[in-house]
Symmetry: C2
Subunit: 159 residues, 2 copies
């Protein structure tokens, strides 16, 4: 066992998740730098690439991030000309989000960033191991959402 | 399959890791609030609980977080009287970190926070499933550290 694997062996799951998350964050930040964007806007943009005409608060709920973080990301994306915001005709307090042409052009960039990290993170995994790991991660994510909601914190608690 | 599990099913691994990490962050923040601390100081403090007389830069390397983040955490911990900093007698540029009595009293608090999150995150897992999941997380973390280093970003790139 190498020194690095030995060190990871002693780390609790929270520290491992933090390292994995941080690597994703670093790759996103480095790859988005030339576009004038950073990791803060990545999730919002990738969500809009998949589904447009989405209400801003739905975006926060979908990724379980707080409304303030989403509001800042959306503002930066609008300032950069990647998205446009339109008030919802049926609910004056809601805002609907759409990609601009410049935003649409980001789709392959975002896809390649996520793929690069995913390939790196699962390096050496067989297809079966990766699929089993994804099953565990989905169960952990569902558990974590329940844990936070059960404690009544809501997604805004971390802000 | 419930709606929530259905939604998680469609999420890429990066989004799942982000949700799991954020729940950890929220629980830490809420539980440390009464002590005047937040998630930013948690990793540094938990590391010192395990091993004292550590050099500040080693702390950054151990958790693969940037030196600026560690410096801010250490400053806040010193201001709060949880740790004390002593210049290394053999290397004037290095600083060694020690827990104070107040810092030592945090050990059971930190342990219970991590345990609460861990119990929640692995809820419904058998011991074998949890151990298999930990094996995958260790491999993913080691891969992610290699990925970041291979790209030459270093742990400071995300700052």
């Amino acid at each position: 066992m190498s020194d690095r694997r030995e060190q990871n062996f002693q780390k609790p799951p929270g520290a491992l998740i933090s390292i994995i998350n941080r690597a994703h964050f670093i790759i996103i930040n480095e790859r988005l730098k030339p576009c004038g964007l950073s990791a803060g806007q990545f999730l919002a943009l990738i969500c809009l690439v998949r589904k447009q005409n989405i209400i801003q608060d739905t975006l926060a709920r979908h990724f379980h991030i707080d409304k303030g973080t989403v509001a800042r990301a959306v503002q930066k994306l609008e300032d950069g000309g990647f998205i446009r915001r339109t008030p919802d005709p049926e609910n004056r307090r809601a805002v609907r989000l759409f990609l601009t042409d410049k935003g649409r052009e980001m789709a392959p960039v975002l896809h390649s960033i996520d793929l690069e990290w995913e390939k790196g993170a699962f390096s050496g995994f067989t297809n079966e191991e990766k699929e089993q790991c994804m099953v565990y991660l989905r169960r952990m994510a569902a558990n974590c959402i329940s844990l936070v909601q059960k404690n009544g914190y809501g997604v805004d608690a971390g802000e």
